[in-house]
């Protein structure tokens, strides 16, 4: 049957993405265990996974729902500091590293989801540029709030204060200390853990897109008035996407934060939001696989370009521009399409022969 085929085609694509990702994971793991990769790259593995999650979650909002969001780093920030906070509380209760991290990641995701809902309810009456401006402001607000937030824990319990440092007894410590951010984090994140979170997010997105809910979301993107006229609840699905996307960004934030001993609020500023948006746009709106590849390459690129020292960001920008031009040039596209087609026909001939 014909209809069955489309389903298989999309599923097939998803399986290829998944398989490729697993393959890369195994190869990287072997290289890492074999001591072939440098420390520089080893240090980037968890951030790469975190940025991949950021990219696919933003792609859900921008590519699948079709609403521009410029405050995605804000959700990452909520997840990072919320997750670290809950994780530190968990350390008092449990010694298990994995359990601490797991609880932290889930808590970070939930907190970011709540933030997504909170911003979504008033903001989703807006569309297009107006929505983008409000999300931009949201990102800045989160950064500014965390910048003056002090949270301490000691034998007397929790201390929370704004602007002024809160007093903590000698037996306790500051979990979040204003502009310094979260300090004294135990480095719990591992490459494998980050990868598992990434795979879970990926499965959720793939399954979501290929379902009644996903179709409703894409209908909103393609034509809102028509979607309403066939009885689709615009507010409900926009809120749903916003909170799912925020939850994933929050999880990415927690994973990211637990890779360092200190995380400052400025790490999740407007530049980070734009960086993630660049991943999404470069990888192709709506293309999950593209987002993954773009996130990985563009996180690695600045590290690989270290030999250019001062000219690093210049080369980075040039590479970005070249890739943009290249992927949008019809001639280059045709060239790749032909290459691909020739390979395919050759394969088919082989199969027939």
């Amino acid at each position: 049957m014909k209809g069955k085929k489309t389903l298989n085609k999309t599923s097939k694509n998803n399986f290829i993405t998944m398989g490729g990702l697993l393959l890369v994971y195994v190869i990287v793991l072997i290289l890492k265990e074999g001591g072939i990769t440098t420390n520089l790259i080893n240090g980037q593995l968890v951030p790469i996974c975190a940025y991949m999650i950021m990219a696919i979650s933003l792609n859900l909002t921008v590519g699948i729902l079709g609403e521009l969001s410029l405050g995605h780093a804000g959700f990452m920030s909520v997840g990072a500091f919320g997750g670290v906070f809950v994780g530190t509380l968990m350390q008092e209760v449990s010694d298990s590293k994995v359990l601490c991290l797991l609880v932290a990641v889930i808590a970070g995701g939930l907190m970011a989801a709540v933030a997504g809902l909170l911003i979504g309810v008033p903001v989703l009456r807006l569309r297009g540029d107006y929505l983008a401006i409000v999300t931009l402001a949201f990102g800045q607000i989160i950064k500014s709030i965390v910048n003056i937030l002090y949270v301490g824990l000691d034998s007397e319990g929790l201390h929370v204060s704004f602007i002024e440092k809160c007093e903590v007894l000698d037996d306790g410590k500051l979990i979040i200390s204003g502009a310094m951010g979260a300090t004294g984090i135990r480095k719990l994140s591992t490459f494998t853990f980050a990868f598992i979170v990434l795979v879970v997010c990926l499965i959720v997105i793939f399954n979501l897109i290929q379902s009644r809910t996903g179709r409703a979301i894409m209908a909103l993107r393609d034509n809102r008035i028509a979607a309403e006229s066939v009885g689709i609840n615009v507010t409900k699905y926009k809120l749903l996407v916003f909170s799912i996307s925020a939850a994933m960004a929050g999880m990415a934030g927690t994973v990211f934060a637990y890779n360092y001993s200190t995380v400052a609020p400025t790490k999740f500023d407007f530049n980070t939001s734009i960086l993630v948006l660049v991943f999404v746009v470069l990888g192709g709106l709506g293309s999950i696989r593209g987002s993954l590849i773009a996130a990985a390459l563009l996180t690695l690129l600045p590290e690989l370009l270290r030999e250019f020292s001062d000219y690093r960001m210049l080369v980075y920008a040039i590479v970005l521009i070249l890739v943009m031009l290249g992927t949008n040039n019809p001639k280059i596209r045709d060239f790749f399409a032909k290459m691909f087609a020739r390979k395919k026909t050759a394969k088919e001939e082989n199969a027939n022969g």
Partner: protein
């Protein structure tokens, strides 16, 4: 225009005999909307029988599409009431009106271009075949069951217009006529009581239009629903409509059977202008 005469015409019922004993699917009374100082539609009174094929005609800019937008709550009416199968739709949103039983197509086609034909119809089935987000993400048995159900139902609906073979094409890549037909299928998928067609024959050639007429009748007979259509193609309107209302400058100037409308001097005047008296 003689006002007394207009009201005389309005009081005539145009509901076909077989629907006389049933509750009309649509009853509009004194419906109107004002944009700033502009009265776009005023005193719009229309009754559509349960299985009637009715037409709404009028010169360009008469307010026909605005009337559709009022019925589907794309615009909230300034005045008047709409009873849908006896239920007042006051305060409802477009989505709620669709759930209550009005489906529509658009004059400027509004399909989900980047999705396939089958997905377009499945989106129409959104409120008919339900599956929660959680069971979709977890791929629970209910997901597979409802997906299969939706797939079969979508192909069944597409077969009305012999479009099963196009199920895999992107909706945006279809030829114009097929896009119009797909819009009708998508509207039908929402299981409406009243189907509003906004210029369904626009851009179709005479043979396609003849086929469309057959299909509109077929849809009415199979689904036992009412159809209200806006159309400029008089062959289609006079050929299939049982009752016709003529709109001019936002007001209904005549109602009646196709024969009555064709002979009505007010209608002829609205379309062709007044004969010079000398």
């Amino acid at each position: 225009m003689d006002k007394g005469k207009i009201h005389e015409v309005i009081s005539e019922s145009i509901i076909p005999e077989r629907d006389q004993n049933k509750r009309p699917v649509l009853e509009c009374s004194h419906l109107g909307i004002t944009f700033g100082g502009l009265v776009a539609v005023d005193d719009f009174n229309l009754t559509v029988g349960a299985t009637e094929i009715a037409g709404l005609i009028g010169p360009n800019g008469a307010g026909k599409t605005t009337a559709f937008n009022l019925l589907t709550k794309v615009y909230q009416p300034t005045r008047g009431t709409i009873l849908l199968d006896g239920q007042d739709t006051r305060g409802m949103s477009t989505m709620q009106v669709n759930k209550a039983g009005i489906a529509r197509t658009f004059q400027n086609i509004r399909l989900f271009d980047k999705l396939t034909v089958e997905e377009n119809v499945k989106i129409g089935l959104h409120n008919q075949i339900k599956c929660s987000t959680v069971s979709s993400i977890l791929r629970l048995p209910n997901y597979w069951k409802t997906e299969k159900e939706a797939h079969e139902k979508a192909l069944e609906l597409l077969s009305i217009f012999d479009m099963q073979d196009m199920a895999d094409y992107k909706a945006g890549s279809l030829p114009y006529g097929a896009q119009r037909r797909l819009e009708i299928v998508r509207a039908l998928a929402t299981n409406p009581k009243l189907l509003l067609l906004d210029e369904p024959a626009a851009g179709m050639n005479p043979s396609e239009t003849a086929e469309l007429m057959e299909n509109i009748r077929k849809i009415r007979d199979t689904f036992q629903i009412a159809i209200l259509l806006i159309e400029h193609d008089m062959n289609l309107v006079m050929g299939i409509c049982e009752g016709i209302a003529v709109l001019n400058f936002g007001r209904i100037i005549a109602k009646g059977s196709p024969e009555e409308i064709q002979a009505n001097p007010t209608v002829i005047e609205a379309y062709l202008g007044k004969k010079k008296e000398d």
